[in-house]
């Protein structure tokens, strides 16, 4: 594609000035007249029944305006329709340290905090369930949730078992079969901004400003729990101080301040303390994996049997999707002819896990990449060569029916190999390089709740004052607003700063499903593109009429702030004179891609991004310390709508991956978070973050806006296996779990010295009956059909 004026240029983000001057208004910056402050009383126990809650003394504290307990907000909610299992305030039992029990609105935070101290809660403490293994045994006291909601042995939340293709035949063809067990520790998003929400109740309507990633889903949860129709609730995304998936669920504090505003008639704000942010969590699931893979002598995969067990924490959150994501995208990275995928998510008495950058997929990626490294070692092959032989090919359909379109794996691999000198690397003890690849979705193909509506809608308005774009998408720092402005500017021949934006406001903007699953550029971008092209057509038509041009309108140029003979401003006047106020809308709905089986909704995406990564490091055999020297990463983003923002997303992903690889750990002792503070929860500083060299690879996806795909999550995935592989390259030992702490490296070296298997990692995968498997016939790998055409083919079959 040529002739693009805005797309492809490294322009500053449209909100840059607001962000570098401190002018951007985040939720906690909002101060409204007569605003009250809310604090929330949370469970000190990981697992307990609530015998009684006495808030009478709290109500008498001077300055307190309202106290809520569980009976005030009894309706359960949750992000997924099948996991409506949490309450804003619990009154029957608490399931993790930090579970909300009561809330106070007072004239200031100190008064609210003092009132919390006056609330008496009697608990009957129960034995906590704190590990995957324990959750797969019969409960000691009682299960965490109702038996009717769970599966045997009753702390099992979800389980699945699929056979795609003929696994036995695949293993029968294999010359070499290998089994490994891996563990990926949980970590949290650690956004710099603590969650915050402010609510008002005026004229029978609730308005909520929140640091959320998804105004629409918060809107739905509020309607459900407050029992108000959606038109009496308005949710506005405030400037957003970082999400990474951690602000994608509706949260108790958002519901609580809304109810408190309704009760008091005054604005109410709640800002979580940093400790509370660790409990809000919804972060990376700890995942235990067992993988059995068969290969031919020349390294071609014949079959993969993959099992994962997810430690879900206390509530469902996105868990019903997460359990799929740990395995479903294995097939969009490597061509796997036969795939058995079994997974289980359990409840434990810890802060709920959910989606963190990569949502469920980094864990599976970690396991598969490392196992292929080991298989290459077994076969005496170079791991890069073995992986290359199995790369998924563009425009193919995977064994589990996922459709791969554009795919830049080869080019990504070439870029990082050339730049890093991986194949020519110096081999000496203590220095190592590792290589890994990944793929990720450009938006989930299925909405969180089942419906046939568009996933993104954009309105454009042109009046005599210019153009405004309206979209429900939420700017969380990734550049969502900028993408909208760039697309509209490109189509209307403007600069991005000429486009006014109204975003993430449920009263004024049409629905976009929000900033999760790397969907905004692809989906809101496509919706904006459609709306802008429709607007351009109207303006061109009006201008053509004025110019006396008939028939072929293509000679009327739309660029550099002009439409035909007129400035854009003049064209707006001509257009509104001709048609009245102009509005167009665009929408985007991903094609139906899933195969003919139940559970086909998780994994399909209109396009997958691809990444390749090389990590170069020093590992000290004496101390176990790992010091990353440099990371090379190449990312197939389809097309970089703005390379500056893409590189920012890629670098941020690599950094976050390194944090998970080396130090970040949402760890517990007896059901209590070990370190709910930013000092003790270690995350990389400037000094811990190495040089990152980024290569943008452009494959121009046929369905992405201008060919664009996602950039914000995929590049995290290959970092962890590449790092562990590099540690092996340096020291000859495998650390089969992250984070790779010095202790683990030393334990692996000890094992090597004792003549045992040179590794540190989990020993075994627990026994669990995954139940009857769903058998799925694989598709023709060249069948690219989607939507109705595809679905009709199922009926024909």
């Amino acid at each position: 594609m040529s002739g693009l004026d805005v797309v492809g240029r490294p322009l500053p983000r449209v909100d840059a000035a607001a962000k570098v001057t401190g002018v951007a208004v985040y939720a906690d910056d909002l101060v409204l007249p007569r605003m009250l402050h809310c604090r929330i009383l949370r469970s000190p126990h990981p697992h307990a029944r609530i015998a009684s809650v006495d808030a009478s003394a709290a109500r008498r504290v001077p300055g307190v305006r309202a106290v809520l307990t569980g009976q005030d907000l009894p309706i359960r909610y949750g992000i997924m329709p099948v996991a409506q299992d949490e309450r804003a305030l619990e009154f029957e039992k608490v399931r993790y340290v930090g579970d909300p029990v009561a809330a106070v609105a007072a004239v200031d935070e100190e008064t609210a905090a003092a009132a919390l101290d006056a609330i008496r809660v009697e608990y009957e403490v129960l034995e906590p369930v704190t590990s995957i293994e324990a959750a797969l045994r019969e409960p000691v006291d009682e299960p965490i949730h109702d038996r009717a909601y769970t599966r045997r042995p009753f702390n099992v939340h979800r389980q699945l078992a699929y056979d795609f293709g003929d696994l036995e035949a695949g293993f029968a063809r294999a010359d070499h079969i290998r089994e490994d067990v891996f563990f990926y520790q949980g970590s949290t998003h650690l956004p710099m901004e603590q969650h915050s929400a402010v609510a008002t109740y005026v004229d029978g309507r609730v308005t909520l400003w929140s640091s959320t990633q998804v105004v629409h889903y918060v809107h739905r949860a509020l309607a459900r729990v407050l029992e108000l129709p959606m038109h009496r609730i308005r949710v506005i995304g405030a400037a957003h101080g970082g999400g990474f998936g951690g602000k994608t669920d509706p949260f108790a504090h958002e519901i609580i301040v809304s109810r408190l505003a309704m009760v008091t008639g005054r604005p109410v704000k709640c800002t979580l303390t940093r400790e509370e942010v660790f409990y809000a969590h919804r972060g990376r699931h700890p995942v235990l994996m067992w993988i059995r893979t068969g290969v031919t002598r020349d390294g071609r995969i014949t079959a993969v049997h993959y099992r994962s067990a997810l430690d879900g924490g206390a509530y469902g959150s996105y868990g019903p999707a997460s359990v799929f994501y740990t395995g479903t995208l294995q097939t969009t990275t490597y061509a796997i002819p036969a795939y058995r995928f079994e997974s289980v998510r359990v409840f434990t008495n810890k802060a709920p896990c959910g989606p963190k950058r990569g949502h469920g997929t980094p864990q599976g990626r970690f396991g598969i990449e490392l196992q292929l490294d080991k298989i290459a070692e077994d076969l005496g092959m170079d791991p890069v060569e073995l992986k290359r032989r199995n790369f998924v090919q563009p425009f193919t359909r995977a064994v589990n029916w996922l459709r791969v379109t554009s795919c830049g794996l080869d080019e990504c691999t070439r870029k990082v190999l050339d730049a890093s000198g991986y194949l020519r690397r110096e081999r000496r003890p203590g220095r190592g390089m590792g290589f890994a690849i990944s793929s990720y979705m450009s938006g989930a193909g299925t909405a969180i709740y089942w419906n046939d509506m568009a996933h993104s809608e954009v309105h454009l308005k042109v009046d005599r004052t210019g153009v405004t774009a309206y979209c429900g998408a939420m700017e969380i720092g990734q550049g969502s607003d900028s993408v909208l402005a760039f697309v509209v500017a490109e189509e209307l021949g403007l600069r991005p700063s000429d486009v006014r934006l109204v975003t993430a406001d449920t009263d004024t903007t049409p629905v976009d499903l929000g900033s999760y699953s790397s969907r905004v550029t692809f989906m809101a971008g496509n919706a904006a593109l459609q709306a802008a092209r429709r607007m351009r057509d109207l303006l061109v038509e009006a201008v053509a009429e004025r110019m006396g041009v008939h028939g072929d309108l293509s000679e009327i140029e739309v660029r550099d702030g002009r439409i035909g003979d007129f400035t854009f401003e003049e064209a707006c006047v001509i257009g509104t004179t001709r048609f009245g106020a102009l509005s167009t809308s665009g929408s985007y709905k991903p094609p139906r891609i899933g195969g003919p089986f139940k559970g086909n909704g998780v994994g399909p995406s209109p396009a997958y991004s691809y990444s390749a990564c090389v990590v170069d490091l020093d590992a000290d055999a004496r101390t176990g310390l790992v010091d990353v020297r440099k990371v090379w990463i190449a990312h197939d983003v389809g097309r970089a709508i703005n390379p500056l923002l893409v590189i920012g997303q890629v670098e941020g992903s690599v950094y976050m991956g390194l944090g998970e690889a080396l130090m970040e750990e949402q760890a517990y002792r007896k059901g209590r978070h070990k370190w709910p503070s930013m000092l003790e929860y270690k995350s990389p500083t400037f000094l811990d973050t190495p040089e990152i060299e980024t290569f943008i690879v452009e494959t121009v996806d046929p369905e992405g806006p201008y060919g664009a795909k996602e950039a914000g999550q995929g590049p995290l995935l290959p970092v962890l296996p590449a790092l562990v592989s590099a540690v092996h390259d340096a020291l000859g030992v495998w650390v089969d779990e992250v984070p790779v702490t010095p202790e683990k490296v030393l334990r692996a070296l000890d094992a090597l010295a004792r003549g045992e298997a040179p590794r540190h990692g989990p020993k075994a995968f627990p026994d669990f009956d995954f139940g009857e498997r769903i058998h799925v016939e694989p598709p023709d790998p060249h069948d690219m059909r989607v939507g109705r055409e595809l679905e009709e083919s199922f009926r024909g079959a």
Binding site: R9, P10, P12, R13, A16, A17, A18, K19, V20, T21, G22, V23, Y26, D28, D29, V31, P62, E110, T111, A114, H189, P191, M192, Q194, A239, G241, G242, R274, G408, E411, G477, Q478, A640, P643, L644, L645, I647, G648, E651, G652, S653, Y655, M656, S677, M678, L679, S683, T685, F686, L687, T689, E691, I692, E693, T694, I696, V697, E698, T699, G707
Partner: protein, 182 residues
Amino acid sequence: MLHELDRAVQREILTLTVNGEVHEILVPVHETLLEVLRERLGLTGTKHGCELGECGTCTVLVDGRPELSCLLLPVQVAGARITTVEGLGSTADLHPLQQAFAELGAAQCGYCTPGMLLAARALLDERPRPGRDEIREALAGNLCRCTGYAKIVEAVELAALRAASGADAPPPPQANGGGEPS
């Protein structure tokens, strides 16, 4: 409003000089500088990430030195010159650091940015042409979760370069960015 809790609270009348403006305020002695800036003076450009001195987000300058406003009591800084992000530059007139952060994409969510800018300003005041390691060392107390830090280091370098050359040096070319589709 004065109620039971308030009676026990000791208050002080203080004069604070913030961004060159003199404020006379009556504050409970235990209230932090962060709270006073944000809640009493309306300077919400100063952010907070932990309120425990762990993340660097609330960094302000006190007599030119970077300090964590969440760990300071106003009484400790009465008489000092306090600079917040609002005093660094404005949307009408960006400070060269702000300009460089904007151009290079050193701010994503923007939440750590005010503290980061002030820590960088203190560095450049002391070391006008710092090396990369000096920049990393000086900013190591400020956490950022979005950027991976690379663009921040580049932005500080660019601002320093421009100050030294006395001109609007162009930003360095984006490594490997863009390019023709394959």
